[in-house]
Amino acid sequence: MASSDDEIDTQPLSVSNYHFEDDKDAPISFSVLPIQWSESESLKGKKEKVFLHGNADNGLKKIFMQVIAWRFDLSNVKPEISVLSKDGKWIKLQKPRKSYEDTIRTILITVYFMHFVKKNPETSAKSVWESLSKNKDFSYYEVKPSHNDLLNHMALMGEAASKDAVLAKSKLLLTVLEDKDTMRIKKLSDEEVKELARPGFIIDDIGNDEIDETVADEESDEEDALFDSVCSICDNGGNILCCDGKCMRSFHANKKDGEDSSCASLGFSRQEVEEIQNFYCKNCEYNKHQCFVCGRLGCSDKFAGAEVFKCASATCGFFYHPECVTKLLKLVVKDAPAELSNNIAKGEPFTCPAHYCRICKEMENKNKHELHFAVCRRCPKSYHRKCLPRKIAFEDKVDEGIMARAWEDLLPNNRILIYCLKHEIDDELGTPIRDHIKFPGVKEKIKPATKEVISNKNNAKLDNLLDKRTSAKSSISSGKMSSEKVEIKNFRKISGSNIPRKKANDATRRCLSENKRSTLKETERSNYEENQTSLGVQLYDLYLKGSEQISSDNHVDIVADNTVSVKPKKLSSAPPQLDIDSERRLLALFKEASSSVTMENVIKEHNFTSSTHAHSLKNVVEKTITMGKLEGSVEAVRTALKMLDKGHSIRDAEAVCGPDVMNRLFKWKDKLKVYLAPVLYGKRYTSFGRHFTQVEKLEGIVNKLHWYVQNDDMIVDFCCGANDFSILMKKKLEDTGKRCFFKNFDLLPTKNDFNFEMRDWMTIRRKELPSGSRLIMGLNPPFGLKAALANKFIDKALEFEPKLLILIVPPETERLDKKQSPYDLVWEDERFLSGKSFYLPGSVGTNDKQLEQWNVKAPPLYLWSRPDWTDKHKLIAQKNGHLFRQHDVSKMESFDREKSSASHSMDDDYVDDTTLDRMLDHDFLKSTNGEDCSFMVGQVQQGSSHGNVDRDSQERHEYLVTKAESTSWKRKRSDENDGRGPAVTLPAKRQGINEMPEGVLDHGNSNPLDFERNQSGSDMILSDNDVGNNGYTPLEPHSSVGDDGQSWPNVADSLPDYGLADLQEHSSRHMGDNTSSLGYRPHLREDDSHLRELETRQQIHPPGLQNPDPTSSSYLSGHGPAYNQMGSTYSVLGSRSELPYMMNTPAMPTNTPAMQRYAPRLDELNHVRTNSLGPEHPTVNRSNTSERSAPQPVYGNVLPGFPGDPSHLYSRQF
């Protein structure tokens, strides 16, 4: 439209601020267009109408045109993407419109990725992502570019590789193309990272040990962010060693690390650095820190007469003499109390002047650009960005004689690193002379700066530094240094003494020499004396000494020394003496052997790449969570709290311990906890961290599961442990005459090799297993922290689309009905695995008994079904009474456990028909058994239906048995009806549909006639009931036909209200369905509070039922399809307890959380539902009800055999 013909001749048009839309004005990625690899190529592919919007000519011209193809060009410095307009013109894309960025994120990243790979064919994945995340085109994305972004563009990349020889050669690209599977997994962990990255929440690190490497890197980066991350000597970053002590400083440990900035460094060799376990700088080691104002050392040990005190802020490691800091604080704090100095000397916390802007006296605000702090590295002076004096400039201004003294991005917290005007910048170093650090006991290490090396700040900033060398200057500096040295020497001498020097340090020289004399003896003995010559050597020696305790095998020199000196003693017992030569030979051998063992080799050999052991926290815990930082933070928390208690403002407290510090603390705690888990949980840890399911439990599972297995199915145990399951399964299946295949995987060898393959489950490929309809998968995966591992295993399993998944996973595992392709729950049993269900192989307790694991919280046993199989499996479940049996089993469990006579008596009570008694029992039981009311109700039902019949029997003939006892059977019938009744009346009830056949089946089992009647009934009703909401219709037969005379009176007798309610429902429902009568409205209003509060959907209830019903229905809807059974049991509760006070039974609190948890999801579904139903239900009232109705997934569960025209239902609901 906007493109006029005359533009065709001009240079290739480029467009910025662009976005693409399809013909419905919805944003769309240009990648849907066909790609044109070469000019000559003709366009193929479906023609979708895509329109380009954007600005051309620097925003002067608006563009709107249809485009038909796109291409990219990787040969330039930056990848170029162009689209072909309909009139055959290529338009280069520049910057997308902000809101459009997310739409094209992945394709952009893919193109950039290929570009990078093309430029650097040998590159590694890590460097690609690093460079991409630094790319400013992507910097606006919250989530860094990663593998995931490539996932959808594999085909494109494959094609590109086939057309581009350079790309094709890149190993990385190939691996990326091949490795779809692994990437899928990575995707998961990345999502977790996204979670982590979301600001404002404290989210526990999910699965620290399984997040992939890049994430780990990111994390540790982020770890550092709060604390000083530049070397204290040269103020440059890089590879630094963090002091574990209070000072929280970092240093270049090795000369090489600090090369860029000609940092004198600590002078350790690489090997030494590696061997350092917990590094304490000399200051922290001797508790002698420098006052940041006057620079003199002073004792900082609070228990030994401290002279210098640390700033209270959690992230600040500066020490001050009380007098020095008071002087400065008075400049910035308006109402500083007169006795401040004394208070500080008494140990009262203070925040140092570095936390106040020197100009405006306000504090820092990390989130406001203007209020970012610029902090001087040499004295406690800070400025807001806005207050920064002009002379403190970011760049040299030669004409004005200004040298750069401010640098951004070096310090964390958005701080600017500056040297204030007090400090003269050295031309060569680009920093002031580095004489600011004094270590006690050591001669000043920083020599007049090493002139040969080019100095600079960060490499990036190097360019604008002058490289001139003025000899005059250096001589000045060395002069300075030498005077400094003298002084330091004195300090060094006294340092050996433990005498606390209370005297102020002003009168240094004299005082010191006295001290010197008094401590001379000591110092003489100390080995600093001997090593006066060079500081490097001295430090080295010190460390050698230190490392004698900590050095690892590699430090053979010391080892050799030790052993030689030790040897004669030890060997004297051995009869023949070894001569020196052979000893030496042995030691040489030893040395050789030990030096051949390197960390890399070990890591390589042990191949830690398995998907479940990807990343260790060691580094984080050791290097980033240092003692000093932690101490500081913990202290700061306390201080801040105290300050708040004393009535200081939040602002003051935050200066001491900001919210970010708090967040960090919580994260640290989690990390430490994970890292120390083997220690904290001692004996529960075993060689291989596995937990196996007890064989008896496995048998139970087998007994349940075998019904669902068909001939020729393959049963896959993805983490088979001892491999007992498939053997048991096989036996069972053979007994029942089925022939199946088995496949078992585990990382570790198993006890028996029955169809076992030692493989990482994550590496199994799709084609290695038969099609999903023949697969039954699952069992007990490793859980991992917050079920992260379990989720991984399940996700992997879902790739195979098995028809059934049987899982023992912790409750916090992501439920399969919430996955992208949801599965339906057939049943779940929370109790089955309670108690001692697992054992820890390889762990032996004190009594030589294998440790069993008593579950603190039992992981439920789930059976999930692929949606298209659900009906079938549900049918089986009903046939075999699994839906009840879960309670059965759990009942056994709890009887075993509690031996509670109360529950027995309850059962008896149920056979009696006194409702009130029952009610009381409910309450009573709930209070004894409180935690699990689903179980309770299950029991209720069982109890009432069977009376005292053998409860342990798990077979369906139970029902037949009970049938014989007519009273109890009737009871059961009525119970069931109770159960169904309310569920039925809830308009929400997809449940209704499920419930129906369920009921039918149950009846069928006991009374085949019934079954038929029900069926025909429903048939009939369905056919003549042409109302939109089919959710209701199946209910019809149940209440009107399905209830034969036998049970009705019974119900009516015991629960008069209920009958009434039911009838009411019916009438109102009819009205609602057919006439959208007003009858709903009053109820609606009455229910309003409940609805709002509980997110429930039923609106038509007689007041008596109101209260209990919301619970049951919300529970049902909350748990989705497969909870039917549970649901119905709840409804039993509901209907029985027409009495309003039932609300107060403990059942309520248990239900509420579940509801709340699932509420959002329900809302979502409801929206969908409203939309789809909208056109069908023009009346407001109708749509209202449907909006309130429960989510639909279960509609898919309509039994095939069910006469209610399932396809019809389907079409409506989905």
Binding site: D553, L571, A574, M627, K683, P749, S843, V844
Partner: protein
Amino acid sequence: MESSAEEYAAFEEKVKRTVYLDNLSPQVTESVIRSALEQFALVKSVSFIPNYLGTSSLPLCALVELDSAKKVKEVEAMIKQYPFMMTGMPRPVRARPSVMEMFDDRPIKPKRKMKCCWLEQSDPDFEVAKELKNLTRKHSAEITLMHNILSKEEEKLSTQQAETLKVHYKKYKMIESIMTDRAAHTLARKYNLAVADE
């Protein structure tokens, strides 16, 4: 006592099925080994090899008979690959396939004749025998030396690890302390931070 050929063959099979564990902790008992290995294989028998040479008489090595030769390899690989933990303590146990000489109750190879006699000083073999004797002694001395070096190393490593652990544990305790007295939570609440409770 001479053994029959079958007996000997059976023994050879047994050797193949047996894995040799070295450097066990003195606390290790048969049931410890059983439960540790039974997740991978069926343990048929465990026999400790008496420690005649060491400073303490507690056995350090054991022969564990498994159900098949394949399992020997697996167990070996497992123990090499993962830290072998017993009652919560990692232990650098070594495993390797056993050889016949490790069994003190091994049957004599059929058709093999052995005889012993004293050597006279004048015997031409006397010097050879003496040299052999010295060599054995020397070896044993060398082994002792190496053992000492090794145990020194181990000790060092363990103190170092203990040290590290102590530090980390201290960190944990410290952080725990403000978590348990709710200081952290109180403060977090004052900042309006969302804090997940335990």
